[in-house]
């Protein structure tokens, strides 16, 4: 077969002949044929996002040459999109909350079809084996497994109940602890079913609090074109990056002659032909935290994977070829990777350029020094007879969204730049990218379509300037997508830290002082370097009360791939150290760990006294009238439910800890107390506008960014509740800088709380006007006596008018007007969600292998607006946290090149090896939040690592103060203890 050829195969039942290039893979050919459900996750097929049915068997189209498909049958999820209604398998995925971002939904649904074709009644092991080839970073596979079970039942003709939470009676009075009763049975249900503990403070509502199906479920279940890459633009060019092979080097020269001469190449950009405009890439509010230490293309590279140049060409293959023809002359410099070495005398200076300012101590690579103190820590430590000091190390990991970063830019008919991009921060991106391109903000439109996961990696202006430069240079649409390897080395990661606590304790167990020192590694660029570490201090010194607290943090430059935002944003690092430290102090004091922590943890009324002194809007003591306080906490209910579920007493039973039939196994159970934040006070802001349509439905525009979290759904539920309509009557459109109101974006656990309050306020504006118009129609004198429910407006005497009648009247009949409301919200509060995290593990004492057998998290997130999406957030967060604790890590060779930049070597959990997971949602009423809501998305990242660490301690008596708990690390600890 020569380079160009045609193949004929059966695609979704229809004979299909298509011309191909011999090097093309089947994934790309299928996408070109409009099969948008087939997604790119990696070129080695490990993610399974491109899974299809190949002659009826699930297979990754990434690793099938299109030529191999000649003569075969290929099936994609589009094959079952024959009508508007969902196929029963698709419906099961939608009903159970199995679809978050939906990026791999098509693959899972196809796998289910194939499995059920072979076996109508599969076991859970069969289901998990089927899912083993489809990596999911969002659901922990809990609800997809449930979806397959449900689909199987439906296909067998069995009746199914609506998928809903299990209501569990409270065990506490909401405030006080109870004595643990080992005989009390835990509630039983499928692990996919969230256990919801209602609060008497929370009223019954029509839409809020109900397990509504996600508003984007249909398009995601069908694999409809909804993601960045799912558009076809005439004349689009394909970009490829040339990245640095060196960890630290000056670029002496670049010769692009050969690359430019290659037919099909339209542009090659690098430092010689792009303006040198300094910026900071972190997607944060204006003004971005300093230093501005990046430019689009620099004369120096500072990590393997750093940008050198970019090519735009007629195809990816031509662009890749052109990249290989760019001749770069490097002056290789010494590099540093360890945060401890970065500040030593003689260490290479990573930012020696003169145009980067605001570096705290350039010669020591010290980019930030962050300090805050309450009380007099030095004196308290000196005066105390019980002072405990421990040091912990947390490592670098990657967010691993299955959809890598991708951006497409073009000039529209008005010659304004449009950037369709996988971002969590469209508005920040627009503001940040415009000056780099020589444009004004008004000349840029950023559109965030559906995103295949972000987890913080996409809280960054990462590719948008590049595609912008190229679109302007070529006047053609340009697409740039990172490979999986580039996602690891050229994207963003979690900050490694070394954390030292010194804690003074009174003889009765009360904390007197906590002193926290953090040495943080921000890689070669500041980006989120200051703010992530600020959150480390905030979380590390807010969870427990102490009259004296001090935070000191040195943030240093090194030459590792760039750390940035990652779900949890500095808290998981702090919580690992803190919960391990508190566990060990309790043991030293001879106290029960939970009792010791309970004695000191923040409770309702506790001041969050270090919080105002940290962060971008930090204030001095004199500027503050009052410290923020904890106003709601369900931690005691969380602890009680979690202890019962995990059967806490077994940890003290020697026959359980050391099973007689497996002498090399030790079992343990660990606990971690978790306290997170909800949004950034005085900073995070969201906007919303709502208008009524002729039929009494509403269009709702929000700037908020749904990453697959269900934000659009939750915000729609809030609006529906206020307006007295069903969720289906709220049509949500989000995240388009031309169309929707401003929003800071999806980060800091802010969307439900901040954007949700904006939605509620906008809906209240609309509701007020609806009542006034209804009063006109019903001849009621006092509009506030009107009630909205069931899409009608009711007078006190029972007469009613439909919202459609109000809409038609207001739009067409009398005193015409568009009933609409706009509102925005910024919070003065940051109400903390609380959680109790439990882990059950087994340690193989002969090999060091740790097996996590069960995770239980009981969360107080206020009122869960949607308990199914909320529990999905907890499950997915725990799965990511499990990888952080257990198996994910970066490995580098001596030159700073990552040795494990693909899935497999970089290990993320798959469906057939997950521990059992159970989620409890313990309701509280947070008066400052919309309908009582607090945050839920990030707190599940916080407690898994310390809970596993404390479980290993329970099992073996060995404390390990560094993650991940890989077999050799644990084995070494066991053998040196």
């Amino acid at each position: 077969m020569s380079n160009e050829h045609s193949i004929t195969f059966e695609l979704n039942g229809a004979p299909t002949t298509v011309a191909i290039q011999v090097h093309e893979n089947l994934r790309d050919v299928l996408r070109a044929l409009g099969m948008f459900s087939v997604k790119f996750g990696s070129s080695d097929g490990e993610t399974g996002a491109a899974a299809i049915l190949f002659d009826g068997e699930l297979a990754s189209a990434d690793v099938i040459l299109a030529a191999q498909a000649d003569g075969h049958k290929v099936t994609t999820v589009e094959s079952i999109n024959t009508e508007r209604d969902l196929h029963p398998v698709q419906a099961a995925f939608a009903a159970t909350g199995a679809i978050q971002s939906g990026y791999s939904a098509g693959a899972m649904i196809l796998g289910t079809l194939a499995l059920l074709e072979q076996n109508p009644d599969p076991t859970e092991a069969d289901i998990r084996d089927m899912l083993s080839g489809i990596l999911d970073r969002e659901t922990a596979y809990v609800k997809p497994v449930e979806a397959v079970k449900r689909a199987a039942a439906v296909m067998r003709g069995e009746a199914t109940e609506p998928f809903a939470p299990l209501i569990v009676q409270p065990m506490t009075d909401g405030t006080n602890s109870i004595e643990y009763d080992p005989t009390s049975p835990a509630p039983r249900a499928s692990q996919a079913v969230p256990r919801l503990i209602p609060s008497r403070d929370v009223p019954e509502m029509a839409v809020v609090g109900h397990p509504e199906i996600k508003v984007d479920a249909v398009k995601l279940a069908k694999g409809n074109p909804a993601f960045t890459d799912d558009i076809e633009l005439r004349g689009m060019l394909f970009a490829k990056l040339l990245t640095s092979p060196h960890a630290h080097a000056n670029i002496v020269d670049i010769d692009d002659t050969a690359a430019l001469a290659l037919p099909g190449v339209h542009a090659v950009l690098h430092y010689k032909n792009t303006p040198r405009i300094k910026y900071a890439s972190g997607g944060q509010s204006w003004p971005n935290p300093y230093p501005y230490d990046q430019v689009s293309f620099d004369t120096k590279v500072r990590h393997v994977g750093d940008r050198v140049a970019v090519v735009a060409a007629e195809s990816v293959a031509i662009a890749e070829h052109a990249v290989s023809l760019i001749d770069v002359t490097y002056e290789v410099l010494p590099a540093i990777f360890d945060e401890h070495q970065a500040m030593l005398p003689g260490a290479p200076v990573i930012h020696d350029e003169t145009d980067t300012t605001e570096i705290f101590d350039r010669d020591r690579n010290l980019v930030h020094q962050i300090t805050a103190e309450r009380g007099d820590v030095t004196k308290a430590l000196a005066d105390s007879s019980l002072v405990f000091e421990q040091t912990f190390r947390v490592h670098q990991v990657q967010q691993c969204p299955i959809e890598p970063h991708i951006s497409i830019a073009w000039l529209d008919a008005d010659e304004r730049l449009v950037i369709r991009t996988a971002t969590q921060v469209p508005f920040h991106t627009r503001r940040m990218v415009a000056p780099l391109l020589g444009l004004e903000v008004k000349d840029v439109r950023v559109i965030k379509p559906r995103i295949g996961g972000g987890f913080g990696a996409k809280q960054e202006m990462l590719l948008e300037d590049i595609v912008g430069h190229l679109a302007i240079a070529t006047r053609r649409p340009v697409r740039l997508e990172l490979t999986r390897e580039e996602e690891f080395v050229s994207s963003r990661t979690r900050h490694p830290q070394t954390i030292t606590y010194r804690t003074a304790v009174a003889p009765d167990g009360m904390l007197i002082a906590q002193d926290m020192y953090v040495l943080a590694n921000t890689g070669p660029y500041g980006t989120h370097g200051m703010t992530v570490q600020t959150v480390t201090g905030l979380r590390g010194l807010t969870s427990y009360n102490a009259p004296n607290k001090r935070f000191h943090c040195d943030v240093v430059y090194t030459n590792i791939p760039v750390p940035g935002a990652y779900r949890g944003y500095g808290a998981p690092q702090a919580e690992f150290a803190l919960e391990a430290h508190m566990e060990d102090i309790a043991a030293e004091l001879g106290m029960d760990a939970i009792e010791f922590k309970r004695l000191n943890w923040a409770k309702v009324g506790s001041e969050m006294d270090i919080a105002p002194h940290l962060g971008e809007r930090a204030v001095a003591e004199g500027e503050l009238d009052e410290y923020p306080k904890v106003m709601s906490s369900g931690i005691e209910e969380c602890v009680a439910q979690g202890m019962r579920e995990v059967q806490w007493h077994r940890r003290d039973d020697p026959s359980w800890v050391q099973p007689a039939d497996r002498p090399h196994i030790r079992r343990g159970i660990g606990f971690a107390f978790c306290m997170h934040g909800t949004a950034i006070p005085f900073l995070d802001m969201g906007g919303c506008s709502i208008k009524i349509n002729d039929d009494g439905s509403f269009n709702m525009l929000v700037g908020a960014t749904d990453l697959g979290t269900g934000a659009d759904t939750v915000l729609g539920q809030i609006a529906a509740e206020v307006l007295g309509v069903a969720l289906d009557d709220i049509k949500v459109y989000s995240s388009d800088t031309d169309m929707t109101p401003f929003d800071t974006g999806a980060y800091a656990s802010s969307t439900t709380y901040i954007s949700g309050t904006a939605v509620m306020k906008a809906a209240e504006v609309v509701r007020k006007r609806l009542k006034e118009r209804a009063a006109m129609l019903l001849d009621v004198e006092i509009p506030c006596t009107i009630e909205l429910r069931n899409k009608r407006a009711y007078a006190a005497d029972g007469r009613s008018v439909s919202l459609e009648e109000i809409a038609l009247d207001s739009l067409h009949t009398q005193e015409q007007e568009q009933i609409m409301g706009t509102a925005s919200y910024v919070s003065q509060d940051c109400p903390p969600p609380f959680a109790a995290q439990f882990a059950e593990i087994e340690v193989d004492t002969e090999t060091g292998q740790v097996t996590v057998t069960k995770l239980v998290m009981a969360v107080d997130c206020g009122v869960a607006i949607n308990p199914i999406t909320a529990s999905g957030q907890v499950e997915g967060g725990m799965a990511q946290a499990l990888g952080y604790a257990h198996c994910e890590e970066y490995d580098y060779d001596e030159s700073g090149r990552m040795s494990n930049s693909s899935f497999g070597p970089y290990k993320i959990y798959r469906a057939d090896e997950m521990p059992e997971m159970t989620v409890f949602l313990a309701q509280t009423m947070e008066d400052s939040g919309p309908f009582g809501a607090k945050a839920v998305a990030e707190i599940p990242k916080d407690g898994v690592a310390p809970a596993i660490r404390n479980a290993i301690l329970n099992a073996t008596g060995v404390a390990i103060n560094e993650i991940p708990f890989t077999p050799e690390r644990v084995w070494n600890a066991l053998h040196t203890a």
């Binding site: 380079n3 070129s43 690793v63 084996d129 991940p964 890989t966």
Partner: protein, 239 residues
Amino acid sequence: MPLVAAYFRPDSLDEALSLLAGPHRIVLGGGTTINSDRQRSDVEVVDLQALGLDSIESSETELRIGATATLADVAGSDQVPDGLRAIARRESPSTLRTLATIGGLIASAHPDSVLLAALLVHGASVDLAGSEAMPLASVLAQGVPSQAIITAVRLDPTGVLCHAATGRTPADVPIVAAVARAGAGGISLALTGVAATPITVDPDDPVGGLAPPGDFRGSSGYRVELAGVLAARALGGLR
């Protein structure tokens, strides 16, 4: 995906051997290894899918697995002993085992392959077109002879199989694994993760002479320790 310069799908082994004689020509099995190798460029692939080499046949004394039988075929075949089927199922996730072939597995000689270790303890030999049949251990050690094509692997399906492994997670590719078999010829033992390919070792001295390369998942010394522990467990499981 490598930059494939040409694709051939021969209809006969003779044609396949003839095609392989050309420069830059390599055999394409299922594609999971070759098609994911981004370092290769300008390769010309000879796809074996039309040669009918995917059958699995067994007698009391011999199991013959065709080279293009997939790992899913092996895992799902009732001709294959249960222990081997279970290991084949664990070898790759669901979306890759339907493509990966037994011939490709042997050609890759991956040091961490538990299935290769299992084939070793089953005394597997490799049928080759263009060359004499060879013991699997020799193919792993020396590579597939140039201009030859794996057509099948033959093994003794009898005996009892037991394996033990240590990985970062339950389904992880093991850092070290030990596979033991009690057959008519006695006890055999193979290890993964301790050499450039899976190897057979002396059941009475499983770690003697081992000098495994280390990596971030396990240092050399740790791998030797694991080999000893896991060999003992696998052998103990036979009892």
